[in-house]
Amino acid sequence: MTTATISTQKPGGGLKRLVERYPFLPALLIALVLLALNGLYQPRSISFIGITGLVKTYLALMMLAIAQTYVVYAGDIDLSVGAIVSLVNVVIVVLMEKMGGSGFSVVAALGVGLLTGLACGIVNGIVVAALRLQAIVATFATSIFFTGLALYVMPVAGTPAPAAFWRTYGGRFFEIPFVFYAAILLAIVLYVLARTRLATQLLAVGDDAQAAFQSGLPVTRIRIQGYALCGLFAALAAFCITGDTASGDPLVGGKMTLFSVAAVVLGGSALSGGFGTVVGSIIGALIIGLINSLVFFVGTPSEWQNLVQGLAILIALMAGVLVGRRARA
């Protein structure tokens, strides 16, 4: 007897459901195509060593993209991640040097680095969520502050990191590069994080903050926690950078902020919040890396490389947004 209301439901295609479940699939496709192209122009690039090099160079950006993802989940944005990277970078390098560069000093410095990242994240969270300032401009302001702090800790670039640190980062254990262990550990951490209440709550806040608040969720606290998580992963990104460059530089992260945002979008997350995956952001960071290497391998004249990279990233961004929406619509 039920009165049949017209079904406005879209025909649930298999592809649609797949992309809904795994929003990073379009990004994965783009990444695979780029990887294949890399291999075509430079067969060595898809060798074990080539891949190791790629991961080693872009692990920092992956970390930073992950960091950005957690705030984007909640519909926020953090334009200070690059500055946090710089700050943590100089803090740990200076500490390691002051404490003599032993194994213990490295561990202690990393601990302090994590706390620094966490503190920066909490400051951002308070400024944006508790004081209700607009995220884009507020985190830009904090980024200036964090950069100032970094300059205070280390006025000029160049202090080297102790060998104990970068040798480990660039080294091998049982014939397997350290970065792979780091990547596996990262995967486990991310898997665990995805199952937390916080992940679901961040996404719910990003969907509709007012609705989440009315549902009784502590919206402000959740957003601050998102920024805190972001700060922690920015610190991890700083560790990777430090391992890669083996030195301190108070401006090292500056350029990375916008790339972290691009990686998140490339990975299929919506900047408006409520929809996305961390895995997508990692793939997004890889896409940026693969584009950069491909442009190099194709033999683009050096002065044209930046333009071609820029165009390729713009096209990938557009393609990602379009494919993701087409599949979901």
């Binding site: 944005i77 334009l79 400024v127 004081l131 209700r132 300032l133 607009q134 884009i136 401009v137 507020a138 830009f140 302001a141 904090t142 980024s143 200036i144 502050f145 964090f146 950069t147 100032g148 702090l149 970094a150 300059l151 205070y152 006025p155 903050a209 007012q210 608040f213 919206v219 402000t220 916008l258 945002v261 691009a262 979008v265 900047l271 408006s272 002065e303 044209w304 490389q305 930046n306 333009l307 071609v308 990279q309 820029g310 165009l311 990233i313 713009l314 961004l317 557009m318 947004v321 379009l322 929406r325």
Partner: protein
């Protein structure tokens, strides 16, 4: 939504309402900062210094006009590519005029055309492909930065025509240089456009409720594209003037204007959510920002301290403006 038995209620005092207007806040702060500057370093508020600050503020204010329009148009409107447009415009202008007064007009036309074209691409990406403005203009920024490298390597960089330099730095009328008058003219034009033209009303309409505007026959897409084009044109004008200010163009002169223009808009009382605000406030916002920077460069502290104070002050000032609504009404 509900609410609304029209009654007297507790109306806030008119004085307080007046003082809380962003424009008034900005003007009060400007005077306070000038007094502070004069105390910290006598001569800061001298006529000559103020004139110099006004010129710098005009450079920022002109690009902020375009940023203002894009933000007013809503739908997370923002233009991160203005920095790239400014740099590009400065280079084009330098190369076209290359010191010849006779080439000023073609140079200006070329720059404005380039700015409009970049805005057109941005606008089409945002409307036709529905790429979020932040993503689209961020990608465009990457392209422009690449383009800068190409242009710089290919053609010898030119320098400003004497006429242009005079326009920006030498007194023209009532002791003020042409650029100040240009800024005033833009201010009047913007105020007229936003309050007394159908185009202006339509900007607010799409910024406040795009769907309602569409249902009332407003050509939403064409409007939005035109706003991005205007933003490109205003950025190009700033680029030309910047060339006149510094004599010759150098790498990435425009970079600093990207977020500064957004902050000027926010300090002027236009929230990033759009549909509300105006340009008069933005002019005050630009002036405020420039004076703040001016004070920080005159006082003798380290670069690190300067950055920290600048970042913290920005945050403090933001507390006066457009804080988000509390969750609990």
């Amino acid at each position: 939504m509900t609410a609304t038995t029209q009654t007297q209620g507790r109306a806030p005092s008119p004085m307080l309402t007046f003082l809380k207007q962003p424009l008034v806040v900005a003007l009060i702060l400007i005077v306070a900062l000038l007094l502070l500057g004069e105390t910290l370093s006598p001569g800061f508020a001298s006529a000559q210094q103020i004139l110099r600050l006004l010129i710098v503020a005009a450079l920022l204010g002109i690009v902020a006009a375009g940023q203002n329009l894009v933000i007013l148009g809503g739908r997370e409107g923002i233009d991160l590519s203005v920095g790239g447009v400014i740099s590009l415009s400065a280079i084009i202008a330098g190369n076209v005029m290359n010191g010849a007064d006779s080439a000023i007009v073609p140079a200006v036309l070329a720059c404005m055309a380039a700015g409009a074209f970049i805005g057109l691409i941005n606008g089409m990406g945002v409307t036709l492909l529905r790429i979020p403005p932040l993503v689209m203009t961020l990608g465009m920024l990457g392209v422009l930065q690449g383009l800068l490298v190409v242009v710089r390597n290919g053609i010898p960089s030119g320098f400003a025509a004497p006429g242009l330099s005079r326009f920006v730095t030498q007194p023209f009328l009532l002791g003020l240089p042409g650029i100040i008058w240009l800024w005033v003219a833009i201010g009047l034009l913007m105020a007229f456009m936003l309050t007394r033209t159908v185009y202006g009303h339509r900007i607010y309409a799409i910024g406040s409720n795009e769907q309602a505007a569409y249902m009332a026959g407003v050509p939403v897409r064409a409007m939005r594209i035109s706003l991005f084009m205007l933003s490109g044109v205003f950025a190009a004008i700033t680029g030309i003037c910047l060339l006149g200010y510094s004599g010759s163009s150098f790498a990435n002169v425009g970079e600093q204007y990207m977020l500064a223009s957004i902050i000027a808009v926010v300090f002027g009382g236009t929230p990033l959510s759009g549909g509300k605000g105006g340009y008069t406030g933005t002019m005050a916002g630009a002036l405020l920002l420039v004076i703040l920077q001016g004070i920080l460069t005159t006082v003798h502290i380290d670069e690190s301290g300067r950055q920290m104070v600048f970042g913290a002050t920005l945050l403090l000032l933001m507390l006066f403006y457009g804080r988000g609504r509390a969750m609990r009404g």
